[in-house]
Amino acid sequence: MTLGNSRRIATTAMAASLLCLTAAAAFAQAPATPTPNKGDTAWMMTSSVLVLLMTIPGLALFYGGLARTKNMLSMLMQVFYCVCIVAIIWVLYGYSMSFTEGGAFNAYFGGFSKAFLAGVTPESVVETWTDGVVIPEYVYICFQMTFACITPALILGAVAERMKFSAIVLFIPLWVTIVYFPIAHMVWYWAGPAAMIGAGKAVAAASGDAKAAAEAALATVTSNAGLAFQWGALDFAGGTVVHINSGIAGLVAALMVGKRVGFGKEAMPPHSLTLTLVGASLLWVGWFGFNVGSALEAGATAALAMINTFVATAGAALAWLIAEKVFKGKPSLLGAASGAVAGLVAVTPAAGFAGPMGAIVLGVVAGWLCCFFCTAIKNAMGYDDALDVFGIHCIGGIIGAIGTGIVAAPALGGASWFDYTANKIADYDMIPQLITQVKAVLLTLVWSGVGTFVILIVLRVIVGLRPGTDQEREGLDLVDHGERA
Protein backbone atom coordinates (compact mmCIF):
# COMPACT_ATOMS: atom_id res chain seq x y z
CA MET A 1 0.00 0.00 0.00
CA THR A 2 1.47 3.32 -1.02
CA LEU A 3 0.78 6.72 0.34
CA GLY A 4 -1.08 7.71 -2.77
CA ASN A 5 -3.58 4.97 -2.23
CA SER A 6 -4.28 5.45 1.41
CA ARG A 7 -7.41 7.02 2.76
CA ARG A 8 -7.20 9.75 5.27
CA ILE A 9 -9.54 11.14 7.74
CA ALA A 10 -9.53 12.47 11.25
CA THR A 11 -8.53 9.63 13.47
CA THR A 12 -10.65 10.52 16.40
CA ALA A 13 -13.82 9.52 14.66
CA MET A 14 -12.48 6.04 14.15
CA ALA A 15 -10.98 5.72 17.56
CA ALA A 16 -14.32 6.38 19.12
CA SER A 17 -16.09 4.04 16.80
CA LEU A 18 -13.66 1.24 17.45
CA LEU A 19 -14.57 1.40 21.09
CA CYS A 20 -18.22 1.18 20.21
CA LEU A 21 -17.72 -1.63 17.80
CA THR A 22 -15.90 -3.66 20.38
CA ALA A 23 -18.62 -3.08 22.86
CA ALA A 24 -21.27 -3.96 20.35
CA ALA A 25 -19.52 -7.08 19.15
CA ALA A 26 -21.02 -9.31 21.77
CA PHE A 27 -24.52 -8.52 20.61
CA ALA A 28 -24.24 -8.16 16.88
CA GLN A 29 -22.49 -10.92 14.99
CA ALA A 30 -24.07 -10.49 11.58
CA PRO A 31 -23.34 -7.23 9.77
CA ALA A 32 -26.80 -5.66 9.55
CA THR A 33 -27.60 -2.48 7.64
CA PRO A 34 -26.71 0.24 10.10
CA THR A 35 -29.41 2.72 11.05
CA PRO A 36 -28.65 6.34 11.79
CA ASN A 37 -28.07 7.46 15.34
CA LYS A 38 -30.61 10.19 15.99
CA GLY A 39 -28.01 12.31 17.73
CA ASP A 40 -25.96 12.31 14.53
CA THR A 41 -29.03 13.09 12.47
CA ALA A 42 -30.00 15.94 14.80
CA TRP A 43 -26.53 17.44 14.57
CA MET A 44 -26.29 17.11 10.81
CA MET A 45 -29.67 18.78 10.35
CA THR A 46 -28.59 21.53 12.69
CA SER A 47 -25.37 21.87 10.73
CA SER A 48 -27.20 22.18 7.44
CA VAL A 49 -29.36 24.94 8.86
CA LEU A 50 -26.27 26.68 10.22
CA VAL A 51 -24.56 26.68 6.84
CA LEU A 52 -27.69 28.20 5.30
CA LEU A 53 -27.66 30.85 8.04
CA MET A 54 -24.04 31.48 7.21
CA THR A 55 -24.96 32.21 3.60
CA ILE A 56 -28.27 34.04 4.01
CA PRO A 57 -28.25 36.37 5.73
CA GLY A 58 -24.62 35.90 6.89
CA LEU A 59 -22.53 36.18 3.75
CA ALA A 60 -25.11 38.42 2.08
CA LEU A 61 -24.76 40.98 4.88
CA PHE A 62 -21.00 40.63 5.16
CA TYR A 63 -20.67 41.47 1.49
CA GLY A 64 -23.58 43.88 1.29
CA GLY A 65 -22.32 46.03 4.13
CA LEU A 66 -19.02 46.47 2.30
CA ALA A 67 -20.69 47.66 -0.86
CA ARG A 68 -22.02 51.15 -1.42
CA THR A 69 -25.65 51.85 -0.62
CA LYS A 70 -26.64 51.93 -4.26
CA ASN A 71 -25.48 48.36 -4.74
CA MET A 72 -26.65 46.89 -1.46
CA LEU A 73 -29.72 45.13 -2.74
CA SER A 74 -27.90 43.78 -5.75
CA MET A 75 -25.38 42.15 -3.46
CA LEU A 76 -28.10 40.58 -1.34
CA MET A 77 -30.00 39.52 -4.42
CA GLN A 78 -27.04 37.85 -6.04
CA VAL A 79 -26.31 35.77 -2.98
CA PHE A 80 -29.96 34.87 -2.51
CA TYR A 81 -30.34 33.91 -6.15
CA CYS A 82 -27.20 31.83 -5.92
CA VAL A 83 -28.60 29.82 -3.04
CA CYS A 84 -31.87 29.20 -4.84
CA ILE A 85 -30.56 28.20 -8.24
CA VAL A 86 -27.82 25.96 -6.86
CA ALA A 87 -30.24 24.22 -4.50
CA ILE A 88 -32.39 23.25 -7.46
CA ILE A 89 -29.47 22.22 -9.66
CA TRP A 90 -28.03 20.23 -6.78
CA VAL A 91 -31.03 17.92 -6.58
CA LEU A 92 -31.41 17.78 -10.35
CA TYR A 93 -27.87 16.62 -11.13
CA GLY A 94 -25.30 18.32 -8.91
CA TYR A 95 -25.37 15.80 -6.11
CA SER A 96 -25.10 12.99 -8.61
CA MET A 97 -22.20 14.61 -10.46
CA SER A 98 -20.39 15.14 -7.17
CA PHE A 99 -21.06 12.02 -5.17
CA THR A 100 -21.64 9.09 -7.45
CA GLU A 101 -19.30 6.84 -9.35
CA GLY A 102 -18.41 8.49 -12.63
CA GLY A 103 -17.34 5.62 -14.83
CA ALA A 104 -14.43 6.46 -17.11
CA PHE A 105 -14.11 9.97 -15.69
CA ASN A 106 -14.48 8.92 -12.09
CA ALA A 107 -11.25 10.63 -11.11
CA TYR A 108 -12.74 13.95 -12.24
CA PHE A 109 -16.50 13.84 -11.85
CA GLY A 110 -19.37 11.58 -11.01
CA GLY A 111 -22.15 10.13 -13.08
CA PHE A 112 -25.85 10.76 -13.43
CA SER A 113 -27.16 7.70 -11.68
CA LYS A 114 -28.73 9.81 -8.95
CA ALA A 115 -29.89 12.65 -11.19
CA PHE A 116 -33.25 13.91 -9.90
CA LEU A 117 -32.28 12.01 -6.75
CA ALA A 118 -33.33 8.81 -8.44
CA GLY A 119 -33.46 5.95 -6.00
CA VAL A 120 -33.04 8.06 -2.90
CA THR A 121 -35.75 7.50 -0.31
CA PRO A 122 -36.24 8.85 3.19
CA GLU A 123 -34.77 5.61 4.49
CA SER A 124 -31.63 5.77 2.33
CA VAL A 125 -28.49 6.22 4.35
CA VAL A 126 -24.92 7.16 3.51
CA GLU A 127 -21.73 6.20 5.26
CA THR A 128 -19.80 8.74 7.25
CA TRP A 129 -16.06 8.71 8.01
CA THR A 130 -16.62 6.02 10.62
CA ASP A 131 -17.32 2.46 9.69
CA GLY A 132 -20.84 1.53 10.71
CA VAL A 133 -22.01 5.08 11.35
CA VAL A 134 -24.52 6.29 8.81
CA ILE A 135 -26.80 9.28 8.37
CA PRO A 136 -29.95 9.70 6.27
CA GLU A 137 -29.03 10.38 2.67
CA TYR A 138 -31.50 13.26 2.39
CA VAL A 139 -29.75 14.96 5.28
CA TYR A 140 -26.38 14.39 3.66
CA ILE A 141 -27.72 15.81 0.40
CA CYS A 142 -28.97 18.89 2.23
CA PHE A 143 -25.72 19.35 4.08
CA GLN A 144 -23.65 19.11 0.92
CA MET A 145 -26.19 21.29 -0.87
CA THR A 146 -25.43 24.14 1.46
CA PHE A 147 -21.75 23.87 0.56
CA ALA A 148 -22.58 24.00 -3.13
CA CYS A 149 -24.77 27.03 -2.48
CA ILE A 150 -22.23 29.11 -0.61
CA THR A 151 -19.19 28.46 -2.77
CA PRO A 152 -20.26 30.36 -5.89
CA ALA A 153 -21.79 33.03 -3.66
CA LEU A 154 -18.33 33.72 -2.29
CA ILE A 155 -17.08 34.62 -5.76
CA LEU A 156 -19.66 37.38 -6.06
CA GLY A 157 -17.72 39.59 -3.68
CA ALA A 158 -14.88 39.87 -6.16
CA VAL A 159 -17.07 41.35 -8.89
CA ALA A 160 -19.35 43.27 -6.54
CA GLU A 161 -20.97 46.51 -7.68
CA ARG A 162 -20.32 46.05 -11.36
CA MET A 163 -21.35 42.71 -12.84
CA LYS A 164 -24.79 42.77 -14.30
CA PHE A 165 -27.42 40.48 -12.94
CA SER A 166 -28.24 38.78 -16.23
CA ALA A 167 -24.62 37.69 -16.50
CA ILE A 168 -24.64 36.39 -12.96
CA VAL A 169 -27.85 34.50 -13.60
CA LEU A 170 -26.00 32.46 -16.20
CA PHE A 171 -22.60 32.41 -14.55
CA ILE A 172 -23.66 30.61 -11.39
CA PRO A 173 -25.22 27.50 -12.94
CA LEU A 174 -22.39 27.18 -15.44
CA TRP A 175 -19.76 27.59 -12.78
CA VAL A 176 -21.11 24.99 -10.39
CA THR A 177 -21.49 22.54 -13.24
CA ILE A 178 -18.08 23.00 -14.78
CA VAL A 179 -16.02 23.86 -11.73
CA TYR A 180 -17.66 23.05 -8.40
CA PHE A 181 -19.17 19.62 -8.94
CA PRO A 182 -15.96 18.20 -10.46
CA ILE A 183 -13.74 19.61 -7.74
CA ALA A 184 -16.08 18.37 -5.01
CA HIS A 185 -15.91 14.96 -6.65
CA MET A 186 -12.14 15.03 -6.96
CA VAL A 187 -11.60 15.92 -3.33
CA TRP A 188 -14.44 14.19 -1.50
CA TYR A 189 -15.68 11.21 -3.48
CA TRP A 190 -14.49 7.84 -2.18
CA ALA A 191 -15.66 4.28 -1.69
CA GLY A 192 -16.41 4.71 1.98
CA PRO A 193 -15.04 3.15 5.15
CA ALA A 194 -16.72 -0.24 4.96
CA ALA A 195 -15.38 -1.07 1.53
CA MET A 196 -11.93 0.22 2.37
CA ILE A 197 -11.61 -1.57 5.65
CA GLY A 198 -13.08 -4.73 4.22
CA ALA A 199 -10.70 -4.78 1.28
CA GLY A 200 -7.79 -3.97 3.56
CA LYS A 201 -8.65 -6.83 5.88
CA ALA A 202 -9.03 -9.19 2.97
CA VAL A 203 -5.51 -8.40 1.86
CA ALA A 204 -4.18 -8.90 5.35
CA ALA A 205 -6.00 -12.22 5.68
CA ALA A 206 -5.18 -13.55 2.22
CA SER A 207 -2.08 -15.50 1.37
CA GLY A 208 -0.58 -17.10 -1.70
CA ASP A 209 -2.59 -16.65 -4.91
CA ALA A 210 -5.50 -15.12 -3.08
CA LYS A 211 -3.18 -12.32 -2.04
CA ALA A 212 -2.88 -10.94 -5.55
CA ALA A 213 -6.62 -11.07 -6.07
CA ALA A 214 -7.25 -9.36 -2.75
CA GLU A 215 -4.73 -6.69 -3.60
CA ALA A 216 -6.37 -6.13 -6.94
CA ALA A 217 -9.71 -5.80 -5.18
CA LEU A 218 -8.20 -3.34 -2.76
CA ALA A 219 -6.75 -1.34 -5.63
CA THR A 220 -10.17 -1.18 -7.23
CA VAL A 221 -11.67 0.12 -4.05
CA THR A 222 -8.98 2.69 -3.39
CA SER A 223 -9.06 3.93 -6.95
CA ASN A 224 -12.81 4.38 -6.79
CA ALA A 225 -12.30 7.93 -5.62
CA GLY A 226 -11.73 11.42 -6.88
CA LEU A 227 -8.25 12.40 -8.00
CA ALA A 228 -7.22 14.45 -4.98
CA PHE A 229 -8.69 11.91 -2.64
CA GLN A 230 -6.60 9.24 -4.32
CA TRP A 231 -3.53 11.38 -3.78
CA GLY A 232 -4.36 11.43 -0.11
CA ALA A 233 -4.94 15.16 0.28
CA LEU A 234 -6.25 16.21 3.68
CA ASP A 235 -9.18 18.64 3.49
CA PHE A 236 -11.49 18.35 6.41
CA ALA A 237 -14.28 20.75 5.52
CA GLY A 238 -13.51 22.23 2.16
CA GLY A 239 -10.44 24.41 2.14
CA THR A 240 -9.77 23.49 -1.46
CA VAL A 241 -13.27 22.77 -2.68
CA VAL A 242 -14.83 25.86 -1.21
CA HIS A 243 -12.24 28.50 -0.46
CA ILE A 244 -9.31 28.13 -2.81
CA ASN A 245 -11.82 27.30 -5.49
CA SER A 246 -13.98 30.38 -5.01
CA GLY A 247 -10.98 32.55 -4.25
CA ILE A 248 -9.16 31.92 -7.50
CA ALA A 249 -12.44 32.12 -9.41
CA GLY A 250 -12.95 35.50 -7.79
CA LEU A 251 -9.59 36.75 -8.93
CA VAL A 252 -10.12 35.59 -12.48
CA ALA A 253 -13.60 37.11 -12.50
CA ALA A 254 -12.37 40.40 -11.05
CA LEU A 255 -9.74 40.64 -13.77
CA MET A 256 -12.10 39.74 -16.57
CA VAL A 257 -14.98 41.93 -15.48
CA GLY A 258 -12.61 44.80 -14.89
CA LYS A 259 -12.40 47.58 -12.37
CA ARG A 260 -15.34 49.49 -11.03
CA VAL A 261 -15.99 52.87 -12.59
CA GLY A 262 -14.09 55.38 -10.50
CA PHE A 263 -11.90 52.74 -8.86
CA GLY A 264 -8.85 54.33 -7.34
CA LYS A 265 -10.25 57.81 -7.94
CA GLU A 266 -13.49 57.97 -6.00
CA ALA A 267 -13.93 56.95 -2.39
CA MET A 268 -15.80 53.67 -2.05
CA PRO A 269 -16.14 53.16 1.66
CA PRO A 270 -18.35 50.37 3.01
CA HIS A 271 -21.88 51.66 3.43
CA SER A 272 -22.51 49.77 6.65
CA LEU A 273 -19.82 48.17 8.71
CA THR A 274 -22.58 47.39 11.19
CA LEU A 275 -24.14 44.98 8.73
CA THR A 276 -20.73 43.66 7.77
CA LEU A 277 -20.07 42.83 11.40
CA VAL A 278 -23.45 41.14 11.69
CA GLY A 279 -22.56 39.15 8.62
CA ALA A 280 -19.12 38.25 9.96
CA SER A 281 -20.66 37.12 13.23
CA LEU A 282 -23.20 34.95 11.46
CA LEU A 283 -20.43 33.54 9.32
CA TRP A 284 -18.61 32.49 12.46
CA VAL A 285 -21.77 31.11 14.02
CA GLY A 286 -22.74 29.27 10.86
CA TRP A 287 -19.24 27.99 10.24
CA PHE A 288 -19.72 25.59 13.12
CA GLY A 289 -22.22 23.87 10.88
CA PHE A 290 -19.69 23.95 8.09
CA ASN A 291 -16.66 22.65 9.97
CA VAL A 292 -18.17 20.60 12.75
CA GLY A 293 -20.85 19.21 10.48
CA SER A 294 -18.08 17.98 8.19
CA ALA A 295 -17.33 15.37 10.82
CA LEU A 296 -20.69 13.94 9.66
CA GLU A 297 -21.48 12.77 13.17
CA ALA A 298 -21.72 14.17 16.69
CA GLY A 299 -18.60 12.50 18.00
CA ALA A 300 -15.06 13.18 19.12
CA THR A 301 -13.89 14.62 15.81
CA ALA A 302 -16.81 17.00 15.84
CA ALA A 303 -15.76 18.19 19.29
CA LEU A 304 -12.24 18.76 18.03
CA ALA A 305 -13.46 20.63 14.97
CA MET A 306 -15.60 22.81 17.20
CA ILE A 307 -12.86 23.98 19.50
CA ASN A 308 -10.51 24.56 16.60
CA THR A 309 -13.11 26.65 14.83
CA PHE A 310 -13.41 28.79 17.94
CA VAL A 311 -9.77 29.43 18.66
CA ALA A 312 -8.31 29.68 15.16
CA THR A 313 -10.87 32.36 14.35
CA ALA A 314 -10.23 34.28 17.53
CA GLY A 315 -6.50 34.08 16.95
CA ALA A 316 -6.74 35.30 13.39
CA ALA A 317 -8.96 38.26 14.32
CA LEU A 318 -6.54 39.32 17.03
CA ALA A 319 -3.57 38.87 14.70
CA TRP A 320 -5.14 41.13 12.08
CA LEU A 321 -5.88 43.75 14.74
CA ILE A 322 -2.32 43.67 15.98
CA ALA A 323 -1.02 44.05 12.44
CA GLU A 324 -3.26 47.06 11.91
CA LYS A 325 -2.26 48.61 15.19
CA VAL A 326 1.39 48.23 14.33
CA PHE A 327 1.28 49.28 10.71
CA LYS A 328 -1.67 51.69 10.50
CA GLY A 329 -2.04 52.87 14.05
CA LYS A 330 -5.64 51.87 14.59
CA PRO A 331 -7.20 48.46 14.98
CA SER A 332 -10.43 48.49 12.98
CA LEU A 333 -13.72 46.66 13.13
CA LEU A 334 -13.35 45.68 9.52
CA GLY A 335 -9.95 44.30 10.42
CA ALA A 336 -11.41 42.18 13.19
CA ALA A 337 -14.12 40.89 10.89
CA SER A 338 -11.70 40.21 8.04
CA GLY A 339 -9.29 38.46 10.36
CA ALA A 340 -12.04 36.27 11.74
CA VAL A 341 -13.06 35.20 8.27
CA ALA A 342 -9.43 34.56 7.31
CA GLY A 343 -9.09 32.37 10.38
CA LEU A 344 -12.26 30.49 9.57
CA VAL A 345 -11.04 29.89 6.04
CA ALA A 346 -7.64 28.68 7.19
CA VAL A 347 -8.98 26.32 9.83
CA THR A 348 -11.50 24.79 7.46
CA PRO A 349 -9.26 22.07 6.04
CA ALA A 350 -7.55 21.55 9.40
CA ALA A 351 -10.53 21.55 11.74
CA GLY A 352 -10.57 17.82 12.40
CA PHE A 353 -6.81 17.28 12.15
CA ALA A 354 -5.17 20.03 14.20
CA GLY A 355 -4.99 20.31 17.95
CA PRO A 356 -6.28 23.53 19.54
CA MET A 357 -2.80 25.03 19.95
CA GLY A 358 -1.97 24.21 16.34
CA ALA A 359 -5.23 25.81 15.31
CA ILE A 360 -4.37 29.02 17.14
CA VAL A 361 -1.03 29.22 15.38
CA LEU A 362 -2.67 28.51 12.04
CA GLY A 363 -5.19 31.26 12.70
CA VAL A 364 -2.57 33.80 13.69
CA VAL A 365 -0.51 33.09 10.59
CA ALA A 366 -3.57 33.35 8.38
CA GLY A 367 -4.58 36.62 10.03
CA TRP A 368 -1.22 38.15 9.40
CA LEU A 369 -0.65 36.92 5.87
CA CYS A 370 -4.15 37.73 4.67
CA CYS A 371 -3.89 41.20 6.19
CA PHE A 372 -0.59 41.72 4.43
CA PHE A 373 -2.10 40.48 1.21
CA CYS A 374 -5.31 42.48 1.32
CA THR A 375 -3.49 45.70 2.07
CA ALA A 376 0.06 45.87 0.80
CA ILE A 377 0.18 43.33 -2.02
CA LYS A 378 -3.26 44.00 -3.45
CA ASN A 379 -2.64 47.72 -3.60
CA ALA A 380 0.66 47.09 -5.34
CA MET A 381 -0.96 44.90 -7.96
CA GLY A 382 -3.89 47.21 -8.56
CA TYR A 383 -6.61 44.74 -9.52
CA ASP A 384 -10.11 45.41 -8.21
CA ASP A 385 -11.09 42.37 -6.17
CA ALA A 386 -13.77 44.48 -4.56
CA LEU A 387 -14.38 42.57 -1.36
CA ASP A 388 -11.07 40.68 -1.19
CA VAL A 389 -12.30 37.26 -2.12
CA PHE A 390 -8.90 36.29 -3.42
CA GLY A 391 -6.97 37.85 -0.56
CA ILE A 392 -9.01 36.10 2.09
CA HIS A 393 -10.46 32.95 0.61
CA CYS A 394 -7.74 31.90 -1.78
CA ILE A 395 -4.74 33.04 0.24
CA GLY A 396 -6.36 31.94 3.50
CA GLY A 397 -7.36 28.67 1.86
CA ILE A 398 -3.83 27.98 0.67
CA ILE A 399 -2.40 28.78 4.10
CA GLY A 400 -4.94 26.39 5.55
CA ALA A 401 -4.33 23.62 3.05
CA ILE A 402 -0.59 23.66 3.50
CA GLY A 403 -0.83 24.41 7.20
CA THR A 404 -3.02 21.36 7.62
CA GLY A 405 -0.14 19.24 6.45
CA ILE A 406 1.88 20.67 9.30
CA VAL A 407 -0.52 20.94 12.22
CA ALA A 408 -1.99 17.48 11.59
CA ALA A 409 1.29 16.03 12.79
CA PRO A 410 0.84 14.27 16.13
CA ALA A 411 4.17 15.70 17.21
CA LEU A 412 2.56 19.12 16.98
CA GLY A 413 -0.58 18.08 18.79
CA GLY A 414 -2.38 17.07 15.63
CA ALA A 415 -4.56 14.01 15.16
CA SER A 416 -2.93 12.51 12.06
CA TRP A 417 -5.29 10.69 9.69
CA PHE A 418 -6.94 7.32 9.64
CA ASP A 419 -5.59 4.73 7.29
CA TYR A 420 -8.69 2.77 6.42
CA THR A 421 -6.91 0.10 4.44
CA ALA A 422 -4.78 -0.66 7.48
CA ASN A 423 -7.71 0.13 9.80
CA LYS A 424 -5.58 2.22 12.11
CA ILE A 425 -4.27 5.69 12.65
CA ALA A 426 -1.50 6.36 10.18
CA ASP A 427 2.08 7.10 11.10
CA TYR A 428 2.40 10.71 10.06
CA ASP A 429 4.96 11.67 7.49
CA MET A 430 4.99 15.41 7.02
CA ILE A 431 7.03 16.02 3.89
CA PRO A 432 5.10 13.73 1.55
CA GLN A 433 1.89 15.02 3.04
CA LEU A 434 2.91 18.59 2.35
CA ILE A 435 3.69 17.68 -1.24
CA THR A 436 0.26 16.13 -1.58
CA GLN A 437 -1.34 19.22 -0.11
CA VAL A 438 0.45 21.41 -2.61
CA LYS A 439 -0.64 19.16 -5.47
CA ALA A 440 -4.27 19.44 -4.39
CA VAL A 441 -3.94 23.21 -4.16
CA LEU A 442 -2.50 23.41 -7.66
CA LEU A 443 -5.14 21.13 -9.07
CA THR A 444 -7.82 23.39 -7.65
CA LEU A 445 -6.15 26.59 -8.80
CA VAL A 446 -5.78 25.35 -12.33
CA TRP A 447 -9.15 23.70 -12.76
CA SER A 448 -11.07 26.56 -11.22
CA GLY A 449 -8.99 29.30 -12.81
CA VAL A 450 -9.30 27.87 -16.28
CA GLY A 451 -12.94 26.93 -15.89
CA THR A 452 -13.91 30.36 -14.65
CA PHE A 453 -11.97 32.01 -17.43
CA VAL A 454 -13.67 29.98 -20.15
CA ILE A 455 -17.15 30.58 -18.74
CA LEU A 456 -16.63 34.31 -18.55
CA ILE A 457 -15.18 34.53 -22.03
CA VAL A 458 -18.29 32.86 -23.35
CA LEU A 459 -20.64 35.00 -21.29
CA ARG A 460 -18.86 38.17 -22.33
CA VAL A 461 -19.66 37.35 -25.91
CA ILE A 462 -23.22 36.18 -25.37
CA VAL A 463 -24.71 38.59 -22.81
CA GLY A 464 -21.89 40.90 -21.77
CA LEU A 465 -20.62 41.14 -18.23
CA ARG A 466 -21.17 44.76 -17.28
CA PRO A 467 -23.85 47.40 -17.24
CA GLY A 468 -23.19 50.74 -18.94
CA THR A 469 -21.09 53.30 -17.12
CA ASP A 470 -24.11 55.46 -16.33
CA GLN A 471 -26.00 52.49 -15.07
CA GLU A 472 -23.10 51.48 -12.90
CA ARG A 473 -23.00 55.00 -11.52
CA GLU A 474 -26.70 54.91 -10.81
CA GLY A 475 -26.20 51.65 -8.99
CA LEU A 476 -27.21 48.08 -9.66
CA ASP A 477 -30.11 48.21 -7.22
CA LEU A 478 -32.11 50.49 -9.47
CA VAL A 479 -30.74 49.32 -12.75
CA ASP A 480 -30.99 45.58 -12.24
CA HIS A 481 -33.82 45.31 -9.75
CA GLY A 482 -35.77 48.58 -9.77
CA GLU A 483 -35.50 48.94 -6.02
CA ARG A 484 -33.71 51.04 -3.44
CA ALA A 485 -32.18 49.89 -0.17
Binding site: L66, C374, N379
Partner: protein
Protein backbone atom coordinates in the same frame (compact mmCIF):
# COMPACT_ATOMS: atom_id res chain seq x y z
CA UNK B 1 -36.51 90.66 6.76
CA UNK B 2 -33.22 88.93 6.85
CA UNK B 3 -32.24 85.30 6.62
CA UNK B 4 -29.58 84.40 9.14
CA UNK B 5 -27.81 81.21 8.14
CA UNK B 6 -25.43 79.68 10.64
CA UNK B 7 -23.24 76.66 10.06
CA UNK B 8 -22.33 75.31 13.50
CA UNK B 9 -21.05 72.26 15.33
CA UNK B 10 -23.86 69.75 15.78
CA UNK B 11 -23.64 69.43 19.54
CA UNK B 12 -24.14 73.18 19.91
CA UNK B 13 -27.55 73.18 18.26
CA UNK B 14 -29.61 72.87 21.40
CA UNK B 15 -27.83 75.74 23.11
CA UNK B 16 -28.14 78.00 20.09
CA UNK B 17 -31.78 77.16 19.68
CA UNK B 18 -32.63 78.09 23.21
CA UNK B 19 -30.67 81.32 22.98
CA UNK B 20 -32.67 82.27 19.90
CA UNK B 21 -35.92 81.29 21.53
CA UNK B 22 -34.99 83.52 24.42
CA UNK B 23 -34.81 86.38 21.94
CA UNK B 24 -38.40 85.64 21.02
CA UNK B 25 -37.60 83.98 17.73
CA UNK B 26 -40.17 81.27 17.45
CA UNK B 27 -39.21 79.54 14.26
CA UNK B 28 -36.15 78.12 12.61
CA UNK B 29 -35.18 75.40 10.18
CA UNK B 30 -32.26 73.07 10.57
CA UNK B 31 -30.38 70.92 8.06
CA UNK B 32 -27.67 68.34 8.52
CA UNK B 33 -24.80 69.33 6.26
CA UNK B 34 -21.16 68.59 5.72
CA UNK B 35 -18.62 71.30 6.01
CA UNK B 36 -15.21 71.85 4.49
CA UNK B 37 -12.89 74.42 5.95
CA UNK B 38 -9.86 75.06 8.04
CA UNK B 39 -10.81 72.36 10.48
CA UNK B 40 -9.04 69.23 9.39
CA UNK B 41 -10.96 66.08 8.60
CA UNK B 42 -9.74 62.60 9.31
CA UNK B 43 -8.48 59.56 7.51
CA UNK B 44 -10.45 56.36 7.22
CA UNK B 45 -8.87 53.08 6.27
CA UNK B 46 -10.86 50.14 5.03
CA UNK B 47 -8.51 47.24 4.57
CA UNK B 48 -6.06 48.55 2.02
CA UNK B 49 -8.07 51.58 0.92
CA UNK B 50 -7.32 54.86 2.59
CA UNK B 51 -9.67 57.83 2.32
CA UNK B 52 -9.03 61.36 3.48
CA UNK B 53 -12.42 62.59 4.59
CA UNK B 54 -12.33 66.35 4.43
CA UNK B 55 -16.00 67.01 5.06
CA UNK B 56 -17.11 67.16 8.64
CA UNK B 57 -20.63 66.91 10.00
CA UNK B 58 -22.13 70.31 10.70
CA UNK B 59 -25.58 71.67 11.27
CA UNK B 60 -27.01 74.51 9.21
CA UNK B 61 -29.52 76.65 11.01
CA UNK B 62 -31.71 79.04 9.07
CA UNK B 63 -33.78 81.66 10.78
CA UNK B 64 -35.65 84.47 9.15
CA UNK B 65 -35.85 87.51 11.37
CA UNK B 66 -37.17 91.04 11.14
CA UNK B 67 -34.35 93.29 10.00
CA UNK B 68 -34.12 94.88 13.38
CA UNK B 69 -33.44 91.67 15.16
CA UNK B 70 -30.53 90.57 13.01
CA UNK B 71 -27.77 91.83 15.21
CA UNK B 72 -29.18 90.32 18.35
CA UNK B 73 -29.67 87.01 16.60
CA UNK B 74 -26.13 87.00 15.23
CA UNK B 75 -24.74 87.93 18.60
CA UNK B 76 -26.71 85.18 20.31
CA UNK B 77 -25.45 82.59 17.86
CA UNK B 78 -21.86 83.72 18.13
CA UNK B 79 -22.06 83.63 21.89
CA UNK B 80 -23.54 80.18 22.21
CA UNK B 81 -21.92 78.39 19.28
CA UNK B 82 -18.39 79.45 20.06
CA UNK B 83 -15.97 76.92 21.51
CA UNK B 84 -12.94 78.89 20.40
CA UNK B 85 -11.62 76.02 18.36
CA UNK B 86 -11.24 75.77 14.61
CA UNK B 87 -14.46 74.66 12.98
CA UNK B 88 -16.91 76.68 15.02
CA UNK B 89 -18.52 77.80 11.81
CA UNK B 90 -19.89 80.81 10.02
CA UNK B 91 -22.89 83.06 9.97
CA UNK B 92 -24.23 84.51 6.73
CA UNK B 93 -26.89 87.16 6.56
CA UNK B 94 -28.90 87.79 3.42
CA UNK B 95 -32.07 89.56 2.46
CA UNK B 96 -35.52 88.04 2.20
CA UNK B 97 -37.91 89.94 -0.01
CA UNK B 98 -41.07 88.39 1.08
CA UNK B 99 -42.44 85.85 3.51
CA UNK B 100 -45.71 83.94 3.68
CA UNK B 101 -47.14 81.75 6.42
CA UNK B 102 -48.82 78.95 4.55
CA UNK B 103 -51.45 78.18 7.16
CA UNK B 104 -52.88 81.69 7.37
CA UNK B 105 -51.61 83.43 4.33
CA UNK B 106 -50.12 86.17 6.56
CA UNK B 107 -47.13 87.83 4.96
CA UNK B 108 -43.81 89.36 5.86
CA UNK B 109 -42.98 90.22 9.45
CA UNK B 110 -46.20 88.83 10.79
CA UNK B 111 -45.48 85.57 9.00
CA UNK B 112 -42.22 84.86 10.75
Amino acid sequence: MKLVTAVIKPFKLEEVRSALTDLGLQGMTVTEVKGYGRQKGHTEIYRGAEYAVSFLPKVKLEVVVPSGTVDKAVEAIVRTARTGQIGDGKIFVSTIDHTVRIRTGETDDSAI
